[in-house]
């Protein structure tokens, strides 16, 4: 018997209309766990670098995490993996909600789509009955609208629906897949779904999910629940509101937005507005949210209330979560009311809430600076808010300038030219980032921005405090009950971190070695979450989370029946993390691509930065160009990756640190001469 997982994937060939239920190899579960891990393996095996995002050979994989559908609180994420049209690399965006557990109860761990349907279709998965059905009547419909129509039409009020809106249908490079109050938004995976001609996937399941050691497993679950309660009653002092309490984060429950509105940048990620958050603004925004919000809502089997149902006068009800709350508001220099209203439309269209407002603000800045002209925006309203609605429609319909903007700031800037590239300034690896512009380079964040392959800082940070606490006594208090650390040394690192003074201050503290360890730990926890289907809001995104390196191995053993301990889990996570990188290396990603957003920090330290990246690469088992070495691949049981790299000339035999760019090779040669 398979535990925690079902042991079956659904393989759907959209070109031929063929559906197969295929048993998965339990050996793969041991090596790559599930969710992201096994997704990465499938992508490696079946999607070579010649395949482009919109090739029929590209796969779109919906993977439920290994522990989804078990009673583990908050374990409900679907990891969607494909080749991104925006980055041309491997994309893996996650969504919470209710879809992954439902898929497990229907008897499947993954839905793997390949090929393309010539007509718009939707998939209906109801336990053993799986059908491809016409969705021609749903063309152009909103994502939530589609879900509601399908549930009604199928008379399945309990079905869970993942759907795209018009943005996905029209292959906007930052189109999302929406599912109730959740969405998988980053990397344009909604565009791939649209390209495949799939409007929605409806799932209903009524089967059992088994766990290997029932009593032990439920005990672990109860411990987690108790700790969540403790954390709710004891918020962490000295950190901003959304970090003091668990959640993904609980933005919809919070009224105090001083931190975001004054520290994040407005418009095209340009303007800091110190002193913005006045009593007046607070009162107005509180009223807006209170009157729009009908209820705070949760994902499957989770007591956190990170989402909300919003009903604004004259608009259909929709659900929101997280920071989309403010992105449109800040992009357009407007108020919360505007942000919540336009987000309703954007959610129905199915768009990423980070990229979309940034793209629109970028376009308006280009107009302001004369790189684009009025001719590019025929009949556009005068006011910024009106312009945002205008641009939203143009982008989603790919009409006029909208067709260019629909490819994101990076590609749009390339196409527009004439200096537009300078305006696409807030990207990493071509993806728009949170609008953060800071002063002093921070070594931990430097490495995370450079080497993160999830294209989002919130998807790699979390375990270690973002900044030192002012006084040693605060730090001592903090580390007292910090049992989540995988090693006691991290407590010392934090204790010695000073806010100001001569010693142990940013950017030379934490030291390069410490920084590598901290970044690796933070990243590892996210990767574990993404294989298990655990929400980062109860785990990797948080200081002192209920899930951590000490109880995860126990969850996996008692849940999935895999012999697991910290070392084995660390190695497994490293294995599929390296596989994610291998997929991207094979697609051309190199050190040159691993840079933070251009103007993220005002004060930079080029020498330190170089040393940080050099050391971190080595720490990770990658060569100086960011390519996993033959040795480290062998150590992880990934010899097949090394062979492929050798065949493609990405690595060369005998040389363990090839692939360096010409300049560093030259430097080595010169060094040798001396």
């Amino acid at each position: 018997m398979r535990y925690a997982e079902t042991g079956f994937n659904l393989e759907i060939d959209l070109t031929r209309g063929n559906i197969e239920k295929v048993a998965s190899d339990p050996k793969d579960t041991e090596l790559y766990l599930g969710g992201l891990g096994t997704n990465a393996k499938i992508l490696w095996d079946r999607v070579p670098p010649e395949v482009e995002a919109f090739s029929p050979e590209n796969l779109l994989i919906f993977g439920a995490g290994l522990l989804c559908g078990t009673p583990a609180t908050g374990c409900n994420r679907t990891i969607v993996t494909t080749i991104s049209p925006q980055t041309k690399l491997m994309a893996f965006s996650m969504m919470g909600g209710f879809w992954a557990p439902e898929l497990k109860y229907a008897g499947y761990d993954k839905v793997i789509l390949r090929g393309k349907s010539s007509d718009l279709v939707y998939l209906y998965i109801n336990n053993d009955t799986v059908e491809i059905r016409s969705a021609s009547h749903l063309k152009g419909k909103g994502s939530i609208e589609t879900a509601e129509l399908l549930k009604k039409e199928l008379n399945e009020p309990k079905a869970q629906v993942a759907a795209i809106g018009m943005a996905g249908e029209n292959r906007v490079f930052y189109a999302s897949i929406e599912q109730g109050r959740s969405s998988a938004s980053r990397g344009g995976i909604g565009a791939v779904m649209g390209d495949k001609g799939v409007k929605a996937i409806v799932v209903r399941g009524t089967k059992d999910i088994n766990v290997a050691e029932p009593e032990k497993y439920i005990e672990l679950c109860n411990e987690v629940l108790e700790y969540i309660k403790f954390r709710e009653e004891n918020p962490i002092p000295g950190v901003m509101a959304i970090l003091s309490r668990l959640g993904s984060p609980q933005e919809m429950a919070v009224h105090d937005e001083k931190w975001h509105t004054e520290n994040f940048s407005w418009g095209n990620s340009r303007t800091r507005r110190k002193g913005f958050w006045t009593e007046e603004v607070e009162k107005e925004w509180t009223e807006t949210l209170e009157s729009a919000r009908t209820r705070l809502v949760s994902c499957y089997n989770c007591p956190m209330k990170c989402g909300a149902t919003l009903s604004l006068s004259g608009l259909p009800t929709y659900m929101m979560k997280c920071f989309t709350k403010l992105t449109y508001t800040m992009g357009a220099f407007s108020n919360l009311e505007f942000g919540l209203r336009i987000a309703q439309k954007a959610t129905e269209y199915g768009l990423d809430g980070y990229s979309t407002p940034q793209v629109m603000a970028f376009a308006l800045e280009l107009l302001e600076d004369g790189i684009l002209t009025d001719k590019d925006f025929p009949e556009m309203p005068e006011d910024t808010e009106g312009r945002f609605y205008y641009l939203l429609d143009k982008i989603v319909q790919r009409e006029g300038i909208g067709d260019v903007l629909a490819n994101g700031t990076h590609w749009a800037a390339q196409e527009i030219g004439n200096g537009a590239e300078e305006y696409a300034h807030n990207n990493i690896k071509k993806v728009e980032q949170l609008p953060l512009k800071l002063f002093m380079m921070n070594p931990i964040y430097y490495l995370m921005y450079c080497t993160g392959e999830k294209m989002n800082i919130t998807q790699i940070e979390g375990q270690f405090p973002q900044a030192p606490f002012p006084k040693r006594e605060h730090r001592e208090k903090f580390v007292k009950d910090w049992f989540q650390v995988p090693d006691e040394k991290f407590k010392q690192y934090f204790l010695d971190w000073e806010m100001r003074g001569e010693k142990n201050v940013t950017p030379f503290y934490p030291t390069i070695e410490m920084t590598c360890e901290i970044v690796d730990w933070q990243e590892k926890m996210h990767y574990i979450d993404d294989a298990l289907g655990m929400c980062a809001g109860l785990s990797s995104f948080h200081l002192k989370p209920p899930y951590h390196m000490h109880n995860f191995p126990k969850f996996i053993t008692a849940g999935a029946g895999l012999e697991m301990d910290q070392d084995k889990l660390t190695k497994a996570a490293k294995r599929y993390r390296t596989l994610v990188r291998a997929n991207n290396i094979r697609r051309g990603m190199r050190r040159k691509d691993e840079v933070p957003p251009a103007d993220h920090w005002k004060k930079r330290f080029p020498e330190l930065e170089k040393e940080l990246l050099d050391t971190y690469y080595e720490y990770k088992g990658w060569n100086n160009d960011g390519i996993p070495t033959k040795e480290s691949l062998h150590d992880l049981g990934l010899d097949y990756v090394a062979e492929d790299f050798l065949k493609r000339g990405i690595l060369t035999d005998g040389d363990n640190s090839p692939g360096q760019d010409a300049s560093s090779k030259q430097a080595v040669a010169e060094k040798e001469k001396k």
């Binding site: 559908g69 009673p71 109050r181 009524t206 029932p214 007591p303």
Partner: protein, 181 residues
């Protein structure tokens, strides 16, 4: 003239107070209920076997946790709509019966009826324990009630099978099973 005296007895009634305004629809109650009632205990989970269900329609802000009550052979006349606080509820949303007109509270494989047993043996029903939103509050109160013998699970199950297949078929099946033994 003598009045027939009905035996009344004091007994503890176990109840759950349900606050629909506090429910946030996470369905943890369904998860732990189905896990507790799995055999062996906690070995599997499946909300479709849960004895509590959230009647849930997020866009219309409807969240009603309902417990499985008694099995009933026939549909009732209850098809009315209730308007509460501007929201429209089906009468069935508040009904605990396992009945022919809906698929709530039936085992997904056999169709046999399910009934909440307040997690016998636990300090409180586990759905209550797992509901951090405090939408479910366990309460005990003393009531006078007529004495009545509770039908056993087996009896309820057999009755529902008889309703579904007819008594003759059931007898045949029992006879066949006997022969095999």
């Amino acid at each position: 003239m003598t009045v027939e005296k009905i035996d009344k007895k004091k007994k503890i009634i176990k109840t759950i107070r349900i606050d629909v305004d506090k429910c946030n629809g996470c369905r943890a109650c369904e998860v732990i209920c189905s896990a507790f009632h799995a055999a062996p205990k906690y070995s599997s989970n499946n909300p479709a076997r849960s004895r509590i269900r959230i009647i849930r329609d997020p866009l219309r802000d409807i969240y009603v946790p309902v417990y499985a009550g008694d099995y009933t052979v026939s549909e009732c006349a209850g098809r009315d709509k209730y308007m509460i606080d501007g929201k429209e509820y089906d009468e069935c949303a508040f009904c605990r019966a396992s009945c022919p007109s809906r698929d709530e509270f039936k085992e997904p494989d056999s169709g046999l009826p399910l009934k909440c047993d307040m997690c016998e043996g636990e300090d409180e029903p586990l759905c209550v324990k797992w509901c951090h939103a405090e939408a479910l509050i366990y309460e005990e109160r003393e009531e006078e009630a007529e004495e009545q013998e509770e039908p056993e699970d087996l009896e309820i199950g057999l009755e529902s099978l008889a309703d579904k297949y007819g008594m003759d078929k059931i007898m045949d099946a029992v006879a066949r099973m006997n022969e095999k033994d």
